[in-house]
Amino acid sequence: MSSGTLESRLFRRSFDDGWLDVLVGTGIALTGLFWILDWIAPSAAIPAVLIPFWKIGRDRIVEPRLGHVAFTAERKAETRRSLTGWAAFGVGVLALEICLIFLLPRQGGVRTDLLSNAAVAIPVLLIAVGLLAGLMIGARRFAVYAVLAGAVGFIGALLGIGEPGYLILSVGLVILAAGCGRLFRFLQTHPATIEAGRG
């Protein structure tokens, strides 16, 4: 990267508006809700449903206030590589979850109460690992979200909460609330500008 520090800071700032947090929080909260309702398979479609809202929000909420910036080809390639890695990781997480959901309960002999409690926390712990992907865009707050998700998983396992959906939902709602707060601040500090060009 030719001008690393300023470029990476500008890149990071372009995600500071909170819209990403709102979408991620919504996605996780909806996943939790679907799990509670026992709609586990349809919950896999939630990310695909939410992805178009990323562009809608950027076009209608963020860019009228922050403006538009195109980053360098190197940055785009790096982001694409990171997202591909994240997507591959997501597929791995999904496969692992499917294994846990459909295979583990059949191995009745292996399951002890302790293992059962820990297994309940696994989905939210996997979400915690997934949230660390936010570090790829330099959004350090996602590390905080990941720690929060890990803590929720750990506490859930200790308390013996039987439904992982509640843990996922609670993590999602916290991220959603944090995202809404961030977005609200962004809307307050960045009034919409009507670009009149150079006068």
């Binding site: 001008s3 470029e7 206030r65 403006g67 360098t72 080809a73 500008t193 006068g199």
Partner: protein
């Protein structure tokens, strides 16, 4: 004192391009150097300059051949897209080099 007898670092500092040296224009060029392109609203948001002020600085940078200004439409919305030129990149690099050399002489570079 004759120009030939000056220290080269001092001579280079005295020859700094005033178009680039002005703080707002230096910041605008630095931002545009860091990205592929940015629109007028983005520069306004990042620099905190008013529309009139930013417009004046961009005109000066364009006149000096340091920035390209393109008018386009995004749907029905007009958009002014800014890009640093090759001359802008070279000028900014030379400016940085001259300042760095001067500050190194002060032991703070």
């Amino acid at each position: 004192m004759d120009k030939l007898t000056r220290l080269p670092e001092i001579a280079r500092a005295l020859d700094l391009d005033r178009t680039i040296h002005e703080p707002a224009r230096l910041v605008i060029l630095s931002i545009l150097h860091s990205v592929e392109s940015a629109d007028f609203s983005y520069l306004m948001a990042e620099t905190g300059l008013t529309q009139g002020n930013l417009s004046t600085h961009l005109t000066k940078l364009e006149d000096a051949g340091l920035v390209d200004i393109l008018k386009e439409f995004q749907g029905k919305r007009p958009r002014t897209v800014l890009k640093i030129t090759a001359a802008g990149r070279t000028g900014l690099a030379a400016h940085g080099k001259a300042l760095t050399q001067l500050f190194r002489m002060l032991g703070i570079g």
